[in-house]
Amino acid sequence: MKNQSKKKIGKASNTLYCLLIYLFLFLPIAVIVVNSFNATTAKPYLSWKGFTLDWYIRLFDNAALLSSFGNTMIIAAVNTLLATCIGTLAAVGMYKYKFRGKTVIDALLYIPVVIPEIVMGISLLTLFSKTSIPRGMLSLILAHITFSIPFVIFNVRARLAGYDNSVEEASLDLGANRMQTFFRITLPVLAPGIGGGALLAFTLSLDDVIISYFTNGQTMTFPLKVMESIKSGVSPDINALSALILIGTILLVVLTQRTSMNKKG
């Protein structure tokens, strides 16, 4: 009997602990969402002045904010596309072929992952200013691709471990050329790894603050726009936009989970 109640207390305290952690994680989210309905009018927009849906409507009048979000989406999309292509090709190529300098490339790959973002940011800034590459969308995209490629490669490589070549060889023997083999046989097997890498590239791009801070020139991305607003007081339309983005991503995840669960069933 004693053991039973001990177990129950144990389980209850475990659950409580997890709940507290989740509370900690979601507290700022709650603040953001609640403040997006705040009818306050004056900076710094901290005190609660009543409920309103105004900010969600006024959001669409805020051209500067929307355009910064648009920039972020464009950068994230282009970055994901290019980083995934370059990274996937590289991962497969490095897996298949042995060549000199492989260890050097390996080492270079770890650098963007391991060193603090601020160092990446300033080194890219130095490069761009010395080579007169215009600072703006171009420099941002180049910078984002740089830190995304290693993540794509690592994810694809994880999939490649233990990959059986024989299917590829069979395909070649049956007369398909290398291209066809690559697209019809290799890629589908690698798909989860590529997907994971692409997702990571997209996510990192969406929220990048430090590297974008140094390489943006005058182009505003959403995180940088938020940074600017924080200086003078975050106006609730930014909260509204963040809340919308959050809902969007949650829905996306829920739906993709359901679909994959459906497929399994």
Binding site: V31, Y97, I105, V226, I230, I238, I245, L246, Q257
Partner: protein, 288 residues
Amino acid sequence: MIGKKMKASSVSAAVMVGPVTLWLVFFVAVPLLYVFVMSFCSLDQNYNVVFHFTMENYARLFDINYLEIYVQSLVIAFLTTVICLVLAYPFSFLIARTTSRYKAVLYMLVIIPFWTNSLIRIYGWRTFLGANGWLNHVLISAGIVDTPLDLLFSKGATILGMVYCLFPYMVMPLYTAIEKLDRNLLEASADLGARKVTTYRKIVIPLTASGIFSGSIMVFIPCLGLFFVSDILGGGNSDIIGNLIERQFQSGNNWPLGSALSIILIAVTLLLVKLYQKCGGDLESLGV
């Protein structure tokens, strides 16, 4: 046939690996080289960089003020890592070993907050902890305290922000490592009469060591450079190396000094990574 294959091989190899090689050389190796070179340069009267060799920047790194900031950065990073580990380990253990249907959901719930912009979440903490913020409002209304708690713009607030930002980086490797634990081992240990504490000490922790190391590295290193957290929550009072570097490239107008600081930061990072590898860490697991 064999001859043709080999030729095709080298072309394919070039096509596949060429782009990434060029990219890495041009956008990673060369810029870092520039930074290295710049750390030995000087400034002219107009704050422009001139290629005049000097060790002065490195000498300035030993300035007593800077040394104190290094120590502060390491202390903050260390505390952040420890707090993250202590908080995340039981949590990851419970989630990873739960038999609930909603295991995947529980895991996703850790990741979901991080799809909201990190700056605005840190700002959310500012709204929560301020003198007239939510927490103080609640505490004062409930009569728990008379005057508002002074929580914001302090080292503690900075550490809170860092822990918050880097928490999932500790959870993810721990979760992966704990999930791999063989239930049978734990049961065997209990059957052999070991108390729970002993089981944890002798079996669970050593077997999840790789997760602990990965998580610690993934938290400690970024912590040194996360300048916006100390800016927003620390009030400019808890400067870390990241702030120093940022300042030299912005208002300080001293790129050579900033470069020297960055080189030192890279050196520290590489040292930590080597340490990690010596302890059996796997570098590739850091990126997945």
